[in-house]
């Protein structure tokens, strides 16, 4: 096992070096071409070469409307373009949709901290479900290991290993709280992130300019940035994709947990809830008074993270 891992890292290093060399080569060639056209002094030729160099797909992407202003046909066109791009880049046929919010639904999580044992099954199920970049690894869920009797998240450890639960420790999974008063959507200068009718804060990856204001505004460290093109092997791509959630992200955009909206907006549970072997995660519609989460919030002593900030989070924690 250990040997294989070493080999894998070596492979990865080799691939990385190769890729870097390729990028360098491509850069020099384009720069040379650019200088050549300049020296020729033919601006018209230059413009012609840039437009012909651009695929029609990226032009479509450039002139694409804001997601909320698109009609159904325009959306279909965009979905077709993205499917084609994924086919070209990853050689995978995807099933790209975007289910609308279910009327009358308000999603919430309730997490039992007495039951959670910190095994990180949710973290890895989330990565598999949502096509996050594997190298550098992007994970939406952070499980914080805290000493019993304390509650200082800064003293917690997210890099713990080995057999869990450890003696005198408890585990607190953190992810996007889908706040009802979200600070992140307010700071976005281009309105690439907004709150859906079912309470999910979504991001349009085609509209995001990568300024990372939202990451600075989020008090829960929920948002992640794609510093590189996400590296996902084609065999590991989840083909059940949605425009606003788990399609393979481009480089330079922000992403975060979206309560698996491609699943939850058609009535299924999120991947982390399904993967949890302990049953610590409860997901449901808090607007339905008979749902698990609504009953927990009514009957148990629940708390939210950083309540004093007035963000009104939708993940409730409780001990029992």
């Amino acid at each position: 096992m250990k040997k294989d891992e070493g080999k894998n890292t070596q492979d990865r290093m080799g691939r990385r070096l190769k890729k870097m060399a390729e990028i360098k080569m491509a850069e020099t060639s384009t720069r040379r071409g650019f200088l050549k056209t300049l020296s020729a002094g033919a601006a018209a030729v230059g413009i012609a070469s840039t437009t012909s160099g651009c695929a029609t797909g990226s032009m479509d992407k450039f002139f694409q409307k804001h997601y909320k202003e698109m009609t159904a046909e325009e959306k279909e066109k965009v979905f077709a373009r993205i499917s084609e791009e994924t086919q070209k880049n990853y050689d995978v046929d995807i099933n790209l949709k975007d289910p609308p919010p279910v009327p009358g639904a308000r999603f919430a999580f309730a997490i039992s901290l007495s039951v959670c044992n910190g095994n990180r099954a949710c973290v890895h199920a989330c990565v598999k479900e949502n096509n996050q970049g594997r190298d550098p690894a992007i994970q939406y869920i952070r499980v914080v290991e805290l000493d019993r009797g304390t509650f200082n998240l800064e003293e917690g450890d997210i890099y713990y290993e080995g057999e869990v639960p450890k003696k005198d420790k408890f585990y607190l999974p953190m992810q996007c709280n889908q706040c009802d008063n979200p600070p992140c959507t307010k700071v976005c200068p281009v309105e690439a992130t907004w709150k859906g009718d079912d309470g999910i804060v979504v991001i349009d990856y085609d509209w995001c300019i990568g300024c990372r204001y939202c990451m600075a505004a989020c008090p829960y460290d929920a948002r992640r940035f794609n510093f590189t093109e996400p590296e996902v092997h084609r065999s590991q791509i989840n083909t059940n994709q949605s425009y606003l959630s788990n399609r393979v992200r481009p480089k330079g955009v922000v992403e975060k947990c979206h309560f698996c909206l491609h699943r939850t907006r058609i009535g299924a549970m999120p991947a982390c809830q399904e993967a949890c072997p302990t049953g610590a995660r409860k997901f449901g519609n808090i607007a339905d008074p008979k749902s698990d989460v609504a009953q927990i919030v009514r009957n148990k002593r629940v708390f939210v993270l950083k309540e004093e900030l007035g963000t009104i989070p939708n993940i409730y924690y409780y001990f029992d």
Binding site: A105, A110, N117, E163, V164, D180, G267, K282
Partner: protein, 186 residues
């Protein structure tokens, strides 16, 4: 003198109105939780146990069990049963009915089906059964809308050895390059 006091009070009133107006802008729980459409319903059923127990019904093998055969130090014929429930809880008859092996029985001797075995657990674990009934304890599979199944106590805990085993944590997130481990700067 009187006029200045009036001015001050006017200013304060204005300030108050402004504060109220600014306070109105931040949303509260009442505003956001207001649903105009009736919420979609979830129909939860408890997973039946009888079809899931290997070799059920027990009367396949045991046409009758003499009460004395249910020894107090764990069942002799069921080698896989290691009784480690609670110190002193080693009597099969506490939950099993020696006269009808296909059923459980309450402490008050009323028979209980295996499908509602949680009733047996709830005799002692009252707090847990209350949490389980409202969905605060236990695992639900299925959808948040439509059909869902709730596992009963024995779906996760072996009733004879109810403690859940420890697990191996999956890989942690990669430590940031150039980062300082916590123990080094504390």
């Amino acid at each position: 003198m009187k006029t200045t006091v009036n001015h001050k009070s006017v200013y304060f009133a204005l300030l108050g109105v402004l504060l109220l107006l600014s306070g109105c802008r931040s949303p509260s729980h009442k505003d956001v939780a207001k649903a105009t459409v009736p919420p979609p319903q979830q129909n939860v059923t408890v997973v039946a146990r009888e079809g899931r127990i290997v070799d059920f019904p027990c009367s396949k093998c045991h046409d009758k069990v003499v009460p004395s055969e249910m020894s107090n130090d764990g069942a002799k014929k069921h080698k896989d049963i290691a009784l480690d429930h609670y110190p002193g809880m080693n009597q099969c008859q506490l939950c099993h009915d020696p006269n009808n092996m296909d059923q459980l029985k309450r402490i008050t001797l009323e028979p209980v089906s295996f499908d509602v075995s949680y009733e047996i657990c709830g005799q002692c674990h009252g707090e847990k059964i209350r949490d389980w009934k409202i969905g605060a304890h236990g695992k639900t599979v299925g959808g948040w809308m439509g059909e869902a199944q709730k596992l009963s106590c024995a779906g996760c805990h072996n009733p004879h050895t109810p403690r859940r085993p420890k697990m191996q944590a999956l890989a942690p997130p990669p430590f940031p390059a150039g980062g300082i481990p916590k123990r080094d700067y504390q």
